[in-house]
């Protein structure tokens, strides 16, 4: 690839990185924010490769999506924030709170 094409690719990936970071901060629900955070990790891994460090690329790819993302989901599940069960015993789905937003209520504040 020509150097200009590499520059354009790098700049567009950096813009995508900033967009993913902003998006995972302002999203209202938690589970989509975590999905965007995993994609942030993936873009980071490609940027490490463009910076000529292959060790960092392998480590970030394995750790960012494979371990860190999975740990977030496990913690959310353990805190009962992901309650949607698609398969139930009597054929009824039980969606109560699906990736609830910010832990505070909308109308009641402590002032």
């Amino acid at each position: 690839m020509t150097p200009e094409l590499t520059e354009i690719l790098k700049i567009s990936l950096l813009v995508l990185l900033v967009v993913a970071a902003v998006a995972s901060s302002v999203m209202k629900k938690l589970v989509p924010a975590l999905i965007v955070f995993t994609s942030f990790s993936l873009v980071m891994s490609v940027i490490w490769m463009l910076l000529e460090s292959p060790d960092l690329a392998i480590t970030e790819a394995a750790v960012g999506a494979g371990v860190s993302g999975v740990l977030f989901y496990m913690a959310l599940k353990r805190m009962e924030r992901i309650k949607r069960e698609y398969i139930e015993k009597d054929g009824k789905a039980a969606p109560e709170n699906d990736g609830e937003e910010d832990g505070c209520d909308n109308n009641e504040t402590k002032g």
């Binding site: 970071a21 938690l30 910076l51 060790d55 960092l56 860190s68 977030f72």
Partner: protein, 125 residues
């Protein structure tokens, strides 16, 4: 302005740091603070590793017995960041387990409510 337009990679890394910092400050949900902290970590690592990059040079793996340092990028920042990435995931794991334990005790993820409840609990003792 100086070299701001030429240093776009470092500027993006610092913008990421600021985004993570703002996320850490503004949200009251514990999980969002953790996401913000991870973004801050990634921004710092990007800043550090982009100091080692030099145009038109290869990765620091010796090919064909050529040990002339003119052909390779700076390998020192990459080795510092390699440690940092794994430490960042350990810190995230410890903080997530703390969040799980806090949720079990107070049944909320909102830090303000946790403060208020713990203060009330301390008063009642």
């Amino acid at each position: 302005m100086g070299n701001l337009l030429y240093n776009y990679e470092e500027a993006t890394a610092l913008i990421l740091f600021s985004i993570g910092f703002v996320t850490l400050l503004f949200h009251r949900n514990m999980i969002r603070k953790l996401i913000g902290m991870n973004i801050m970590d990634s921004g710092i690592y990007l800043f550090l590793a982009s100091m080692g990059y030099i145009y038109d040079r290869r990765a620091p793996i010796v090919e064909g017995g050529d040990t002339n340092p003119v052909n390779y990028i700076n390998p020192v920042p990459a080795s510092l960041v390699l440690t940092g990435i794994v430490v960042s995931v350990s810190v995230t794991a410890v903080m997530l387990s703390l969040a799980v334990r806090l949720y079990e005790r107070y049944h909320t993820l909102n830090l303000d409510e946790i403060y208020a409840m713990s203060r009330r609990r301390a008063e009642h003792r």
